[in-house]
Amino acid sequence: MISDEQIMAQIKSDIGDKIADITIQAPRRIHLHVKPENLNMALAYIKEKWAFTLMSTISGVDLGEQFEFIYHMANLYTNINVRIMTPRSDPKVPTTTGVIPGAILYERELQDMFGVVVEGIPDSRPLLLPDDWPQGEYPLRKDWKWERPVEVIPGGK
C-alpha cells in the first residue's frame, strides 16, 4: 500500500508528458486530467501498476462550451478520478471497455444522457431512455428543459 503522494509522483515521472494535470484534493481523492486520446493509456497504466480495477461510474458535467467526463477509478485503498474534456460541437470520447469491461453500462448511459459519441463501444443501443424518445434530445445537457404536460384523464373530468 503506497500513499497518494507516492502515486502522484510515480504518475508524474512515468507518464508526465501525456497528462495535463494531477492534484490531490483530499485524502484518497486524486484528480488526474488527461486528453481524450490518452484516456485508455492512463486507465491501463493505473490498472497495471496499482490494480485500479473498479470503475465506480462515469460522471458527466455540461460546462457550456465543453463537456467534462470523470471516470471514477478505485482500488483497495485509494481512488483516482480521471477527467477528460470534449467540445460540445463535436462530442466524442473513446470507449474504455477494452481496459475495463464493466464500463459498458456507464458508457451507454453517457450516450443517452449527453449525446456524446463513444467511439468503438461494443453495444451502442439506448439503455435508459424509452423506445419512443425523440432523436437529438439529451436530458442532462443544461439547455434541455422539460415541462410537465397537462394531464388528460380519458373520459375524466
Binding site: 483530499a26 465506480s56 461510474t57 458527466g60 471514477h72 483497495l76 485509494t78 469491461p101 453500462l105 439503455l127
Partner: protein, 401 residues
C-alpha cells in the same frame, strides 16, 4: 434450437421492473440482454433545480430499503464542500442507523433468498427478526422506511439512555438467532444443495466487470468501502471484512450472514462508546464552487455520489450510482449456462432494490360500511387483543413428535 424468452419488465418472479431477455437452448440460458429504464425518474436532472437541503430529502427517496445510504453519502459529500466538520455524537448516531439499516436489509435479503430457494420457513423467521430492527429504527428516527435522520453537520434527533438500553437488549436476541441462521444457511443439506454452484462468478470476472459489495466479497475479494475508504468514524471501529471463496449464491448467503454478525458488533461498540455533546453543527446555506466524490458502503455495495457546486444554494450536478447498477454486468455472466429455474435465485442474489411500505391501514368493520383509520400501534394492540382470546382449540403435543 434457440428461443428468446422475455422475463419482465413485469414478471411474477421479479420484484422490480427490469427487462431480461433470455436466449435459451432447452432449459439452459445461452445469452442475457438487460434493458433498464422502467423505473428511471430523472432524479439527477431534478436535483439541479433543488436546494441542497431539498436534495437531502430527494436522495432519501432513491431507494426504499437503503434510503439512509443515499442521504449519508450525499450529506458527506456536501459537508466536504461546505468545509464543516460534523458533530461527533451525530456521526455516532448516523453510523448506528447505517448499521441498523444494513442489518434490516440483509435480513430481508436472507428471507428473499430462502423464499426463492423454496425454504419459506427461513423467510418467515428472518422477517420476524427484521421486525425487531425495524422497531429499533422507528424508535430512533420515528419512521420505518425514510428515516429523515440526516442533516448537514450531523443528525436531527438524539437518542437517550432508555433507547440505548433497548438497542443493547435487542442485540442479544438478534445475535443468538442470526448465529442459528448461519448454522442453517451453511449446513442445512437441502438449502445448501439448492444454492451451491448456482450463479458462479469467478474472482477475476467479478473484478473485470466491476462488481461491488457482497457480490464481489463472495467471489473472494476483500473490498469494503468502510475499510478501504473510511468515512465518518469507521476508521476507529474494529470490524472484519467478510469474504467467501465459494463464488456462488451460497457464498453470498454466508457473506451476508457474517456481515450481519459484524454489524451487531459495530452497533454494540457504538452504543457503548457514544460520546456526549451536540448532535449537529450549523451548516451554511450556500456552497462555494468545488467538487466532491463521496463513497459509501451501502448494504448492496459501493454507493457513489459526485457533487459539483457552483456557489449558489443548488448543486451544479449530482451524479448518483447505486450499487445494483454496478452489479448488472456481473449478473449477466452469472446467468449464462444456468437453468431457467435459477433466474429468480441468481437475480435475487445481487439483492436488487425494491421500494415499499405503507403506514396507514383502513379498517372496515364486518357487516357495516363504517371505516376508520388507525395507527400502526393501535392496529398492533387490536391484533394482540384479537388473538388473546383463544379462538382455536389447541391440542397439547409433545415435542419431538
Amino acid at each position: 434450437m434457440e428461443f428468446t424468452v422475455p422475463i419482465g419488465p413485469q414478471h411474477p418472479a421479479l420484484k422490480e421492473p427490469i427487462s431480461l431477455r433470455m436466449t435459451l437452448e432447452g432449459e439452459v440460458i445461452k445469452g442475457v440482454d438487460i434493458k433498464l429504464g422502467y423505473n428511471h425518474r430523472g432524479m439527477e436532472k431534478l436535483a439541479e433545480d433543488r436546494s441542497y437541503i431539498q436534495n437531502l430529502y430527494l436522495t432519501e427517496r432513491i431507494c426504499g430499503i437503503c434510503s439512509f445510504s443515499h442521504t449519508t453519502c450525499f450529506a458527506q459529500g456536501v459537508e466536504t464542500l461546505m468545509e464543516i466538520e460534523p458533530a461527533r455524537r451525530g456521526l455516532f448516531i448516523r453510523t448506528l442507523v447505517c448499521e441498523l439499516e444494513r442489518v434490516h436489509s440483509h435480513l430481508l435479503w436472507l428471507g428473499v433468498a430462502g423464499h426463492e430457494a423454496g425454504f419459506d420457513t427461513f423467510f418467515m423467521y428472518t422477517w420476524r427478526d427484521r421486525e425487531i430492527v425495524m422497531d429499533l429504527l422507528e424508535m430512533i428516527s420515528g419512521n420505518r422506511v425514510h428515516y429523515a435522520m440526516n442533516t448537514f453537520g450531523g443528525v436531527r434527533r438524539d437518542i437517550d439512555e432508555l433507547q440505548r438500553k433497548k438497542i443493547a437488549d435487542s442485540l442479544d436476541t438478534l445475535t443468538k438467532r442470526t448465529e442459528y441462521y448461519l448454522k442453517i444457511g451453511s449446513s442445512e443439506p437441502t438449502f445448501v444443495a439448492r444454492l451451491a454452484g448456482v450463479g458462479p462468478l469467478p474472482k477475476q470476472m467479478a473484478l473485470d466487470l466491476c462488481a461491488v459489495g457482497p457480490t464481489l466479497r463472495a467471489s473472494g475479494v476483500p473490498s469494503d468501502i468502510r475499510r478501504d475508504d473510511p468515512y465518518g468514524i469507521y476508521a476507529e471501529i474494529p470490524f472484519e471484512v467478510c469474504t467467501s471463496d465459494l463464488c456462488d449464491v451460497l457464498g453470498r448467503v454466508v457473506v451476508r450472514i457474517n456481515e450481519v454478525l459484524q454489524s451487531y458488533k459495530i452497533i454494540d461498540w457504538l452504543v457503548k462508546n457514544l460520546p456526549d455533546g451536540p448532535v449537529k453543527v450549523k451548516a451554511p446555506r450556500k456552497v462555494k464552487p468545488n467538487e466532491a466524490v463521496s463513497r459509501y458502503e451501502a448494504p448492496r455495495g459501493e454507493n457513489i455520489h459526485y457533487i459539483k457546486s457552483n456557489g449558489s444554494d443548488k448543486p451544479e450536478r449530482l451524479k448518483v450510482r447505486a450499487p445494483t447498477l454496478a452489479n448488472y454486468p456481473a449478473t449477466v455472466e452469472m446467468l449464462k449456462g444456468q437453468f431457467i429455474a435459477d433466474i429468480p435465485l441468481v437475480f435475487a442474489a445481487i439483492d436488487p432494490c425494491i421500494c415499499c411500505a405503507e403506514r396507514m391501514v383502513e379498517l372496515r368493520d364486518q357487516g357495516s360500511e363504517q371505516t376508520r383509520i388507525v395507527s400502526f400501534a393501535d392496529l398492533r394492540r387490536l391484533a394482540a387483543q384479537y388473538y388473546s382470546v383463544d379462538r382455536l382449540q389447541h391440542k397439547e403435543v409433545e415435542w419431538p413428535l
